[in-house]
Symmetry: C2
Subunit: 560 residues, 2 copies
Amino acid sequence: MNRFLVLRDAYGSVQAILPDSKRHQFEEIVKSLNYESVLRIRGVVRNRGKARNPKIKTGDIELEIDDLEVINEAPPVLPLLSDQNALEQTKLKYRYLEFRSEDMQQKFRLRAQVTSRLRHFFEKLGFVEVETPTLSQWTPGGAAEFLVPAAKPNLGRFYTLPQSPQLYKQLLMCGGIDRYFQIARCYRDEATKSDRQPEFTQVDFELSFTSKEKVMQLVEELIKTAWPESLNEYEIFSSPFQRMKYEQAMNDYGTDKPDLRIPWKFENCPKKMASILKTGVEEKENFSARMFIAKGTGRHCTEEPMSVWKKLIEINPHAQPFDIFIPPNQTGFNNWDSDFDTNDLVTKYDIGPDDAVVFCWGETDGVQRTLGFLRNYLADTIGLRKKSGFKFVWIVDFPFFEKKQGNFECLHHPFTAPIKEDEIRLWKMEGLENIIAQHYDLVLNGVELGGGTIRIHDPKLQRHVFEKVLKLPTKHLEPFFEALSYGAPPHGGFALGLDRFIALLSQQGNVHTSIRDVIAFPKTKDGKCFLMNTPNEAPPGTLERYGLQIVKGEEKQNLV
Amino acid sequence: MNRFLVLRDAYGSVQAILPDSKRHQFEEIVKSLNYESVLRIRGVVRNRGKARNPKIKTGDIELEIDDLEVINEAPPVLPLLSDQNALEQTKLKYRYLEFRSEDMQQKFRLRAQVTSRLRHFFEKLGFVEVETPTLSQWTPGGAAEFLVPAAKPNLGRFYTLPQSPQLYKQLLMCGGIDRYFQIARCYRDEATKSDRQPEFTQVDFELSFTSKEKVMQLVEELIKTAWPESLNEYEIFSSPFQRMKYEQAMNDYGTDKPDLRIPWKFENCPKKMASILKTGVEEKENFSARMFIAKGTGRHCTEEPMSVWKKLIEINPHAQPFDIFIPPNQTGFNNWDSDFDTNDLVTKYDIGPDDAVVFCWGETDGVQRTLGFLRNYLADTIGLRKKSGFKFVWIVDFPFFEKKQGNFECLHHPFTAPIKEDEIRLWKMEGLENIIAQHYDLVLNGVELGGGTIRIHDPKLQRHVFEKVLKLPTKHLEPFFEALSYGAPPHGGFALGLDRFIALLSQQGNVHTSIRDVIAFPKTKDGKCFLMNTPNEAPPGTLERYGLQIVKGEEKQNLV
């Protein structure tokens, strides 16, 4: 025994054998060697003949050891390999050991391959890769941005890490770099949102003299070019991608990122049912009672998941009351209400014994959103969102603004141009809620993969949006307004979330995957890295260097 | 008049002409149009016939205007275009207008092209591109690192922006990603050093089971592959690149980054001259008197540049006294000292009437460095460092440590392995100054283009270097030491300064070029961006968000 070793590298493994002639020299070493040690072996590759193992790729051969050197010995027990069910925290702490698995090797090689193809696509079309600064200036509106304090001679002043290269790429357009791209590192300080990372990667491009249609076509070509052959699903997506207006998406699916692998659409509840539901509601204006039929989920609609869904939905400030009916004589809970015109329902909608009727009533927008969440939850009970396959859809014709507490905010961002027909109303500030933006979002399996807009190139209109409509401070934007004034070409672009795209690709479209899986050294939801113990105390002397002090009481919070 | 327009885009220009039939419709517009306005013109391309202009690329044709729309009108005067001698500050403020010049368009297209080739090279050889974090952990020793404060739940804690992906790439090696590369953004907070940028780009790679020789070969192949055809100088560099030991570089050129386009080497002053020079010196131990002959520079060695050089050199704490002799009867200053054996000098070194003898005396190391500076200054007087051409040289066999105020510091970085023969002495702490590191620097025209090392893969030796030799705190490095202990393969790598490489390429090897020229939105020496006005005050509420306050007295320093 113990005369065999399995040698592994990034590309596979092979068996090495200690021949009798070398036993006296190496047997003790081979016996005592720990797994995962690093060796240098010199030997002869031999045919294993009858002893061949057809189950493994290199099973026809073996390496007969002639010389052996232990380069770096591993300890008897390794943290992860000894425990297949290691906690998320432990896995992240020993991320480099996770990397040794075939699964991780494949994921990161896939990521590199797809990234490379994305770049080739742009290069072929004459896009110029330009690196833009990450020590940048804050922009009003948008996610919280990380600060980077400056030292002398700029004490008391700060850079910020950018959410995207938005302003810089627009400045490049002003500079006549008519086709730009960048695989850009971006930053958002919103660690508490689930499956967000404080730093992430964006495939960013912009071009001059373009249109919404041209950009969308480019993105479709981009994705097809980058698609790895290893995914059989290549044929699944149709060309061009499906398109859907924002209004329709909200109406049919209660979300602007519908997962179209789920076939269920919303509709109004039958009249009698709706009027019964309405009686208990105080606010009768803007009332809706809407429903969808969740085929095949009846048996899963028991009290237990129901209470979980209720809790999840109640977090949302717009949540409205909902309920689920399943036909009588089912194993699930049974609340089939005979006051409602249930027979009509069954007949009209061809409701089978294992179907569920999910319905919600109250303020229209809240009803739609509540049903939107439920559509995903119910689909999850029968694995619809885990199944492989890729359904792309463009969501278009977004409203430019939404009203929040009496103020207008942008649905996307303030650099977006309105559609031509709505420009005059924007100037006149008439019906701002109904102005349509030249904005397009690409959704894959219910996940927002990216978005883009045609930008405003008229400096006066850009100022008008910031000052008059959004009422935001523009001091830091003056240089940008000035740039637009020196003959900026019309332009537009797009940004694709690379981490999310790779995560979906590497899981054959399963949305229950985390971008953490395809980021080499990710942080937790709390923004921590358990491997390097970041964030941590400032290095000695650095706070003084930056003229800063920690506000009293915060010093010892939450030691890693 | 005024019936012609010149249309320009990123690729060239063409003449448009307003035909008589369209005069009534567009003449007023064409007359009043300002330069750099953005137009949309529809028309017919016509042969200019006899009116052709052979001096311009599109001189055979013209565009006969059929329809014309002014998309974005520029003002009558643009900041930069109206002033060819705009100040550096103004140029940076209107960087996007600079981008409209042919020179800038070419530079940034060159940068993109070379970057693309670098990546192709790595991809072809199976290197995997991996993105590593920039919200990172500080490492002891090395340049000052920017801080990034964290918000709740990590208040009072900080990330740092990395100087390089050093630790992460070594962790990837520990994880079996056996060939890694990345075009990585790196950060250093040392804005005061000339021609440094707070953020810069590094072509970073690392591989397992390699050697100094293999890495150096890879780098040479990398550079040849990336070399743009547009540079005629392609043939100039020989293969393999020249190699020089650190000791020889210091001895012959007084620097570890010699510009080998300058033919002058140092040697000892003749005996009589040396002994005269020594008489006035207090510290006789470790005394040298060294010189070099600067051919063809005699007429430039007047009092004026001499006093400038003196001032520049005196900044250096190691500076030693120097002087320059030129043969009698020259137009420059004449301090030919007949006490010295000048005739011998003239005969032995074949000193011509326009040559200068540059000599320096005192403490050996300071003498070498002083002459090293002077070699460059003198070369500049006759344009030797501006001339086109590329001289690569590898500097190898660096000392691992240098003694500074009684303590040992690393010449490069503490992750470097010593050469095999010196490993035992490192363990025994014997003759540390003489230990040779497996470190290699690539120098082009006197500019350090990049460097790399073979790393320590033995966790005990790595700890020994940090704790025993360098006496640095290792708390933050414990996870790294642990990673090495789980079977880390031997590995090594290299990092190439992309900005500097592109700067040299774009100027045909002229070293009097700034990396700012090839960075899209660079910062000044002081770390300021005049375009976006960064750094600036923190956005409202953010200091509170990060639990920080500015130390009193620093608030109003240095308004941008």
